[in-house]
Symmetry: C3
Subunit: 420 residues, 3 copies
């Protein structure tokens, strides 16, 4: 009695073929895994117009483009989560790995994740992993506060950025290390600051294993060329001149984009207007959501299936849940404070608010255009950025939050301390 459409997880167990690395057994020791170079026939060095488009279409339609990769790492963990903790989880795992393409296709076509099936949501497929050559001892990964200060403008009118795409562990909480995909080894990537009209020469070199790319929202370029994916060891370069001021997101645009944004490849490029805004203490807050799988060797991979549920585990400003609660942002009475808030999502709006204050100025368009006055809270859309200003007339401790508290309570809270 088989379902004409979506196979039921409970049925898949029967149809499974044994797994290549002997994951099925229960007390088996699993050898350390050496990943083979992935075979990605469609990702040529210089994909043609159609190939990139078709690839993206396929990836997004399938809702998965990095299926077994993280699972492979997961398999390294003896007695780890790789063995499903329920029969249905095991079924899901084996099915997706061992099934024929048609079966997997069918599984994913149905987007089973949206069915609220615990087993599927816990599936270890489509998870991030760190580059296999790296040491994976979570203990050696320190917790570091992310500095929210907007870097000063360079005196030159051009910036040269040579960045690496790296798959590395990042400690996002004192007790949590994640298998992050990053720009320059951190999550978010570096804060970039320039003026409208400046020239940015950018090069990305992929030191990871899966393909990566760079999409600057502030760039006006042909994405097919400039934002193309590069394989391990390859580089891509492009030049652009941001036209508009604003708080712009950047992110890896390799398909599935959700997986690459969701696994840590995002950050902020702040473009100041040609004529300076009023003097202020300027900070950058990049909000993101975390969707994590169970830890493998002490490191929690990002979980693509969970990303598709849109129900996150954590949120954070600048990559560490609540980091600015214990180590606040500090300014002085009389300071004007300018927050460049970039919501990297991947999915939910960020209702930005400062407790005990209101924003005297918020720019709807590119600053200094279309300012509005007297704002308590404003939704920054996923993939968008906004500029919020307030004057710190009085001393105190002012929490800044995503006022969508079902999200904020998972880590999107910080403190602005105004000292006398």
């Amino acid at each position: 009695m088989y379902e004409p459409m979506a196979p039921l997880l409970s049925e898949l167990a029967d149809r499974m073929t044994p797994e290549p690395n002997g994951r099925e057994g229960d007390g088996e020791t699993r050898p350390v895994l050496v990943l083979k170079e992935p075979a990605i026939p469609e990702m040529a060095d210089q994909p043609t117009m159609s190939s990139r488009r078709v690839f993206l279409a396929r990836a997004s339609t399938l809702s998965l483009a990095i299926p077994g990769f993280g699972a492979a790492l997961a398999a390294c963990s003896p007695g780890g989560t790789a063995s499903g903790d329920s029969s249905s989880a095991k079924a899901a795992g084996s099915a997706a790995q061992g099934a024929s393409g048609a079966q997997r296709d069918s599984l994913l076509h149905d987007n089973a994740n949206s069915r609220l099936d615990t087993a599927v949501a816990r599936s270890e497929h489509g998870t991030s992993s760190i580059a296999p050559g790296m040491s994976v001892s979570a203990d050696n990964v320190p917790f570091r506060r992310y500095d929210p200060t907007l870097p000063p403008l360079a005196t030159e009118r051009s910036l040269e950025l040579q960045w690496r795409a790296m798959e590395v562990p990042v400690r996002i909480r004192p007790d949590t290390v994640v298998a992050a995909w990053t720009f320059e080894g951190n999550l978010p990537g570096p804060i970039v600051h320039c003026r409208a009209g400046d020239t940015i020469d950018f090069t990305l070199t992929n030191e990871g294993v899966v393909p990566h790319s760079m999409d600057f929202h502030a760039a006006q370029v042909d994405p097919k060329v400039a934002f193309r994916s590069v394989m391990k060891g390859q580089s891509v370069s492009f030049t652009f001149k941001p036209r508009w001021a604003g708080a712009f997101m950047y992110h890896c645009g390799t398909a599935p984009v959700l997986m690459h944004i969701g696994s840590g490849m995002f950050g902020a490029l702040v473009v100041s207007p040609r004529e300076p805004l009023p003097p202020a203490r300027e900070f950058v807050l990049v909000q993101n959501e975390f969707y994590l799988a169970d830890a493998v060797n002490g490191i929690r991979p990002f979980d693509y299936t969970k990303m598709l549920t849109t129900l996150p585990d954590y949120l954070a400003f600048n990559g560490r849940p609540n980091q600015y609660v214990s180590e606040p942002i500090r300014v002085r009475v009389g300071d004007r404070v300018r927050f460049w808030v970039v919501n990297c999502g991947p999915t939910h709006p960020c209702a930005y608010h400062v407790v005990g204050e209101q924003f005297d100025t918020m720019y709807l368009g590119a600053p200094p255009g279309t300012p509005i006055r007297g704002v308590q809270t404003w939704d920054v859309p996923a993939g968008g950025g906004m500029c919020f200003e307030l004057v710190c007339d009085i001393p105190g401790e002012f929490p800044f939050v995503n006022h969508g508290f079902g999200h904020a309570q998972k880590g999107a809270i910080g403190f602005l301390v105004v000292e006398a």
Copy 2:
């Protein structure tokens, strides 16, 4: 045997087993289905003011107003999903089908759907179905790209629209046919284009089985009269003059509204300002979410219970997930492109963004009012519409997306190709 990298759809097709009619299973053939006429006692032909309000109140409170209808279809499927796969599913099923109104009321009062219970979320109650007189062979339903081009304005200052509400199958993906409730047989309904101040004479004739109606957001009318529901074979007519320019949603407003919007009865009315905006290539993108039940005879009904979970299976611009990836929207270098984006939801905001570009103009109020400049991404609210403009200075392939990527990855991605 796992996939090292994204399986390509073209590769998967080869490996797929044919499925169209016999659907593999147990070898059962399923007879063509003849639905019985539904009994909907509370929908009088011409509901009075109070009756309509009370009906709407009940429907929204009960979270269900089309109780056994879809269930009847589901129940025709031998060995199908109608038999609950858990005791609670069975209990829910029996209650909703066999229970008295009071019992049903009690069941739905608790809004069990929000409890994340798989069994409940899979319940086949409250699903759409196609009109019973129709042939229901999914194989005969072709896949057709939806033309996003804004139709030209008529020279006359009045439009006469005679539309039919129809319950028909629509192929939204090469492998997916849905039991759609539609205006004029398509999902979205037809794009309408007029000027502020034009006169629109509208008539809706219900050729479906369940009651339907029409709610134009651009109309200023008494909804009790103009937007009233009509039964099979009946018509409703009204006249209105859109006052403001903008990208306006229209939809069936019959309770429960969520079910009628969610099942395909929505579309866009674009009202151009009296004085023309700058010349541009103009396109309409209607975003919607799909919440689907398992297929019955090859056709997937819309699932009201799943709609209430707000966790969609697919999203799409103009009704077909990712259709503009394989068949992009094409313009030329130098063109100004104007997107009229209508988010029909039913639930989530659409964070509209074009990769590799920024919008030089976005109108917050009715165009040409309150333009803002230099926008990367803006949230179009569910039930709202916005107008986005950019100038295509350079050639290339520019994805347009809902940058809420947990949603976009389910189909809200397309391509704008700018040819030299």
Copy 3:
């Protein structure tokens, strides 16, 4: 073995004592419970900077600060929900109840709620309850429509508000009573109306059991001092002068904020500009989401775990789902109607829309600043407020809704009746 109030999970292991009412056993009858005064060492009357911040950090990181309280009430119910209804529920329950602090910490660190596990989502931990001294007969709680009329301005330029935080049952639907945490015994709290620049002298006295506080979004004050939590029997006072006009949220800011907003402690302060806006019929609509546990003695507690899932049971304008469907808001033809819409969330945007009408004016900044014209629908962010105006040219019955219909259908629908 429960904590009457135990915000610091790290302390739980030390303080756990056997439970007064014998909840541990399985078939035991449970007497009516008398709660002991909570021991909250870290919530001093005047918390120091660091103590408050650390408290908030812990609470939000742990995602739970009121663990056993509601569970205690639940325990009053013989054969109630305290005994898990599935093996996994029981497992989850036992873990959280019987585990050491470290284990509980670990359980909650993982934010298991986001895994869509029914058992976890149904956990009875972190639920609201009414003050133990109160009579808890749900039958005696009447259903009362919440008057949406904006109160007139006082002639004086100062307001003195002496409010009580109270944990009381509130009937939100004819068949549903909730264990609400309130300001002044209602949900939402009282509507406050003043002018920009007026002086508000505010005192909150806590007549409940758990700590409470007051956060006015319209106030510019040091939250550490003015918005501090007070214990049972204590008071906090502060004075502020709203600087900007607008529709401002107020709410209890005690950690976890999600729990206190989510359990009913929210409302609207409308600040009119110094120079009056055009004459209008003015109404206040406060939207909120309900996340409820199963009833105990006929009263449904608010469920913190469910709040974290962000999948609500009900929504409402002014605290009663669909109350303005049966008892509409009434105006006359020719009236200008001004809606001050405050979205108290806790989580989702509210896509405000009036069926059959458009807003001729909506203020993006503090009214009368930055008006926009011709709006069909606008997202009010969680924790934000907006001002919408329309002129009622024609008679009729106009539904006002949250056009995010997956939410609206759960109760965010009302009627504006325009009488000739």
